[in-house]
Amino acid sequence: MKKKTEVFRRNYLKKRCFGEFGGRYVPELLIQALDDLEACYLQAKTDSHFQRELKSVLQSYGGRPTPLLFAKNLSEELTELRESRKSSALRKQRKQPLKIYIKNEGILHTGAHKLNNVLGQALLCMRMGKRELVAETGAGQHGLAVASVAAKFKLAAKIFMGEEDYFRQYPNVYAMKNLGAKVIMVSDGTRRLKDAVNAAMKYWIENLKTTHYLLGSALGPFPYPLLVRDFQSVIGVEAKKQLKQAEGRLPDLLCACVGGGSNSLGFFTPFLSDAKVAMLGIEAGGKSMKLGEHASRMKEPKLGIVQGYKSYFIQNADGQVQPTHSISAGLDYPGIAPELAYLHQQGRVKFLSASDKEALEGFRKLSEKEGISPALECAHVIGKLPVIIQRYPEASFICVNISGRGDKDIFITAKHLDKDAWREFLKRELRSLR
């Protein structure tokens, strides 16, 4: 009986998957739309006109290329830390200086890597003759990118956002509204990103002919994981060239935070065939490893099929998806990109998680050391570096993808790092509103 199931698994969805992960587990009525999208994308991929146009908007609208920066002060501190941990015998050996570079996607218009994918998909939307975008958003960064690009391309935009996120990330709601997008609060389920995805998909199902669902990460049913990854790969393509130029060789290790998986995959992909480049994804460790207090899907990976794709999900024994927690709204999604699940299975990409506390520490560290305040998502990576360099003692040339800038998190970080003054500030603002 076991064997039969395996045959079934292997055959079902022969294509459209990464190993056993991915697929398109959706109601039949979505198949046509997914087929159309796939066909449109595959055409566009080899259409030099499309690629030129994409490149042009990435540059003129997005501000690409984004810079690569040698994080000199951070490198020095971590070199010292690594030295101080060595046994006295080893310490006598030559000191191996660590070189940490950051690829800064926070420079991008709207403040995060999300824009890369949004510009690509918006062009696809128009190519399909559709004039409306629908999207989910958690922290609001993806929604902000969608709202901005929709304005630029004169597309209508409907952004679904969980009630929890709607209120805690209201500044982004406000920004999206200003850009002319319609933001719809989702009060079902966990009232978070996952439920916004459900709502957006349903809106799409009801309006397939006129709308394009602009999914924000490298997940969901095929071809989304593929095209989102491809559109984000500009990060890695640029970084590879820049890193070679900076050090004359490829780095030993790449690190990126992993929410859905789009920034990490975009960063990693162009290096996948370079066997000597190790890759590490950092998930949200939240408050603890107790169910509901983190968003680490890789700690004890549980295979599932949710929201149209097969991958690892945070779920209970019955297969019910469970609530998550992270200080960063961009990392608290319960699923993960099927391609990352595959790369994990293959051992190509490793995973660690960083706690809320480590993320805050990372936020402060990069601010103080390099004058760059990272988004809390990628701050997880910075906060984890002291552990990472211990796990990878051979790595001396590391590149971290900074997926976004930290401005958007002010209401969260200030609450933790500057509580009293922040409270006074809010009180004053409230008074001024009367």
Binding site: L13, K14, R24, Y25, I31, I305, Q320
Partner: protein
């Protein structure tokens, strides 16, 4: 042992029944005891089949009413174990052939073989899993189900192309469920025009003997009446859930009765 659905369906056909009714119910919502009373009322009123949905955290194809029902049941700790017990009770306590509807993750995580084995054992007639779309490879899935003597009812929609319909028709088992709208579940005041004009195309693509069910949006006797002669089975979903929760099992029974009598008349 022949599948209960096949027996009942051919019998009804033979009787010349113009349209049959499949009544939808959400396990654990509002509670297991209400589920049981409702099933009883449905059968009494003349429903032919029972579609029993097992709640899932992320019911992709469901509109607000059923989705919130899913969440409600889960919040009240409805589990798969309780689900199996309910199915067993319903399968033995009444005579409507049962189709278990759920999303793929539940059998997948539980273990497909184990899951289907249990359903077969308690006498379920088939499964409806909306997030396994038809694909060249889903043939395998249908075969597996038939090995369990379970129909794997496929779902199509008004947008499905003729070519695809033909392919589906070839593989389908039990019945094919067509949605009356390109959309999600939910009771509506009127049925979609798009939905009502599709049947010729569908019938043409399908083998004659294949049963055709239709649902999504049915909320009045007239809706069912409009489907007469066009499909074999009308599936009533959100409307019954609403009635159950707002006015109780007896109201569900009354509503089904009103449909049944409108069909007969």
């Amino acid at each position: 042992m022949k599948n209960k659905f096949d027996i009942k369906f051919s019998a009804a056909k033979a009787e010349g029944k113009k349209i049959q009714l499949m009544a939808h119910m959400l396990a654990g919502y509002p509670s297991v005891s209400v589920n049981k009373e409702t099933a009883w009322a449905m059968e009494q009123a003349g429903a032919d089949y029972l579609e029993l949905q097992l709640p899932f955290s992320d019911p992709l194809a469901d509109g607000p009413v059923i989705m919130r029902g899913n969440h409600h049941a889960l919040k009240k700790n409805f589990s798969l174990e309780k689900g199996f017990r309910l199915i067993e009770d319903l399968a033995s306590g009444q005579n409507m052939p049962i189709f278990v509807m759920s999303y793929y993750n539940l059998p997948f995580v539980f273990g497909l073989e184990k899951f289907m084995g249990i359903l077969e054992q308690v006498g379920v007639s088939g499964v409806i899993i909306p997030d396994i779309p038809f694909d060249d490879e889903s043939e395998e899935y249908i075969q597996r189900m038939s090995a369990f003597k379970l129909h794997a009812a496929l779902v199509i929609s008004p947008g499905t192309s003729s070519k695809r319909l033909k392919a589906i028709g070839k593989k389908a088992s039990g019945f094919v469920y067509t949605t009356l709208r390109t959309g999600i579940t939910g009771a509506k005041q009127t049925l979609s025009h798009e939905g009502l004009t599709q049947f010729k195309k569908i019938r043409r693509a399908f083998p004659k003997k294949l049963a055709l069910a239709a649902g999504f949006g049915i909320s009045r006797p007239e809706h069912v009446k409009a489907l007469e002669g066009k499909v074999d089975i009308a599936v009533i979903g959100s409307k019954l859930i609403l009635l159950t929760v707002e006015r109780g099992p007896l109201a569900v029974g009354e509503f089904i009765s009103s449909i049944v009598s409108s069909i007969v008349s």
